[in-house]
Symmetry: C2
Subunit: 333 residues, 2 copies
DNA sequence: TTGTATGCGTTATCAA
DNA sequence: TTGATAACGCATACAA
């Protein structure tokens, strides 16, 4: 049987109340009894029961984390960042996958709330503004990663997609490209729009035309990138550089280009977005705009913990991506 | 305030006991009252409090999951498989990362036990036989993925590494190779030994010599594979094919081979292990022995749930890998 | 078929 | 400084 404070109380000849106090470093207790009780607790191998504690105190020391799926290496790092912070601060991480299904996301968040998690972090939410009323009812703070909402219980940490798209496109322009395509993502939602906006902004500033046939869509995965690139290869004239919604798309684009016999570069330059490890697996290694993924997770977790523990915290944080020059870009040749 | 069974009881004019029964489909209750109470519960938006339920019933409906790190795509799929089963059966997943640190793994398992998880799944444990006494004390069933132990509370699901190594090597032999190298992993532990054993067995059967200079070690990651391949390229004669401990190693090996100007194939054939999605990102796409990763997670979760819910279950399951022919292997040329 | 009383392990309140 | 007692929300012997 498990050792409880009552067992300790019996062994020490005191009340369980005293034990509870001694164990929690209450001030209103004599140092000697405190020490004595602690020694007994130690000897008996006492472990507090978090469930009972939660029932009493309304705190489970657990964070709910919702991501679409783990097979996406982007989320993986985010979750890792969250877990590291949580573990260091004594919190558990209750992980759930939504599989990009808004309805499922909703029910998961409600389930997590029912499970009494202290707070929730959602990466790449598909629920948008539908959170607000729900959270109002749930009364649980939520931190959104890479999606933005404003409301009483809603916080967010995100990377600046407009800036990132701008950065990528500027880089290509700086290399001398004037024919730059964009492979977006059907499923990218707001982040896709924003990266596209950064792309257009850079083109505009450089006085380059926006050619509709050079703007195509993938699905955020390798296959989608491949298919999109094949369409791009049929345009005439062909772009000399491509900015891709994310690294997986870029990897697909690269595959299609290599298959078509192009040299990358100089025949074509490809830049991705995310900064995935996977980008170094391919030849040439992928140049990309890196999101601070782990940082994103870390900050979200820290933010949530600050809120939970009643410390001041910003409500929204916007991070900047950084360019990682590898091998897939060069001057047009 | 949150709605409890007492609130419902008050509204329905019955005792909270009756409510409790009505909500749990107890047989000893009149259908009408049952329906009436359920309606009221619904109307009030009642959600049972799992914490209270856990305190009472000693079940948290939560599974503890321990993996070394999520940045390894192998674990990612395993966790995904676990989560899917758990979610479908109404269980939560409490995820913790051990970062390959045995001491941390140990403390995490103890922490999870303290948190009252109903059972634990550990992927790629580093703790070995040190589990046994711990579990004896904790009294919690544990399912080990890809590591094997025997003991009262210990179960396991694993892939047959000897068979997998044999399969890969046989395949190369079948292609006509007689000079086959192995790039292992310093950190692969038992699984590395087993795959190596399968490799030797296939060589022996085919009457091929085991050349020590063709057996080198990576670290299970891309960089290690690259470095190992560079060493292999200096041997004379050079192998015409390489079996790699895992896909990341193989990707590294491929990179090094391509850098050295080799054509893969015919100059060199490379086969990996795991069946990662990442193997399709590279050109040529990686031929590999696939582990049923998601299946591994799924089975582990199902096994654990069977045990928890008192149904019969095998204690140990061994799965066979399957060959996926892609593009990185061909006859020696 | 329903209700009363009690317990799960902890913390909080109030007395002593 | 300590202890008795009552919650927290639910489940369950036992009684009615």
């Amino acid at each position: 049987m498990r050792v409880t404070i009552k067992d300790i109380a019996r062994a020490a000849g005191v009340s369980h109340t005293t034990v509870s106090r001694a164990l929690r470093d209450s001030e209103e207790i004599r140092p000697e009894t405190r020490a004595r009780i602690r020694a007994i607790a130690e000897a008996l191998g006492y472990r507090p029961n978090p469930v009972a504690r939660a029932l009493q105190g309304r705190r489970t020391q657990t964070l709910g984390v919702v991501v679409t799926r783990l097979s996406d290496p982007f989320h993986t790092e985010v979750v890792q960042g969250i877990e590291m912070v949580a573990q260091a601060r004594g919190y558990g991480v209750l992980l759930s996958l939504s599989h990009e299904d808004p309805e499922k996301e909703r029910s998961i968040v409600e389930l997590l709330a029912a499970k009494q998690v202290d707070g929730i972090i959602v990466a790449a939410s598909r629920l948008g503004s539908r959170y607000l009323p729900m959270l109002e009812a749930l009364q649980i703070p939520i931190v959104l990663i890479n999606s933005h909402q404003t409301g009483p219980y809603v916080y967010s940490v995100a990377t600046d997609n407009v800036h990132g798209g701008y950065l990528a496109t500027r880089y290509l322009i700086g290399l001398g490209h004037r024919a730059i395509a964009y492979i977006g993502s059907r499923r990218g939602g707001r982040s896709n729009q924003d990266r596209y906006r950064g792309y257009r902004q850079a083109l505009r500033e450089a006085g380059l035309p926006l050619r509709p046939e050079w703007v195509v869509k993938g699905d955020g995965r390798v296959e989608g990138g491949e298919a999109a690139m094949r369409r791009l290869l049929e345009t005439d004239p062909r772009p000399t550089a491509v900015f891709c919604y994310n690294d997986l798309t870029a990897i697909g684009a690269l595959k299609a280009a290599l298959r078509a016999g192009l040299r990358v570069p100089p025949d074509l330059s490809i830049i991705g977005f995310d900064g995935l490890e996977e980008g170094t697996y391919v030849t040439p290694m992928l140049t990309t705009v890196a999101q601070p993924r782990r940082q994103l997770g870390r900050l979200a977790a820290e933010m949530l913990l600050e809120i939970l523990e009643g410390r001041p915290s910003p409500k929204h944080i916007l991070l900047q991506g950084t360019l990682i020059e590898r091998e897939s870009c060069g001057p047009p040749g």
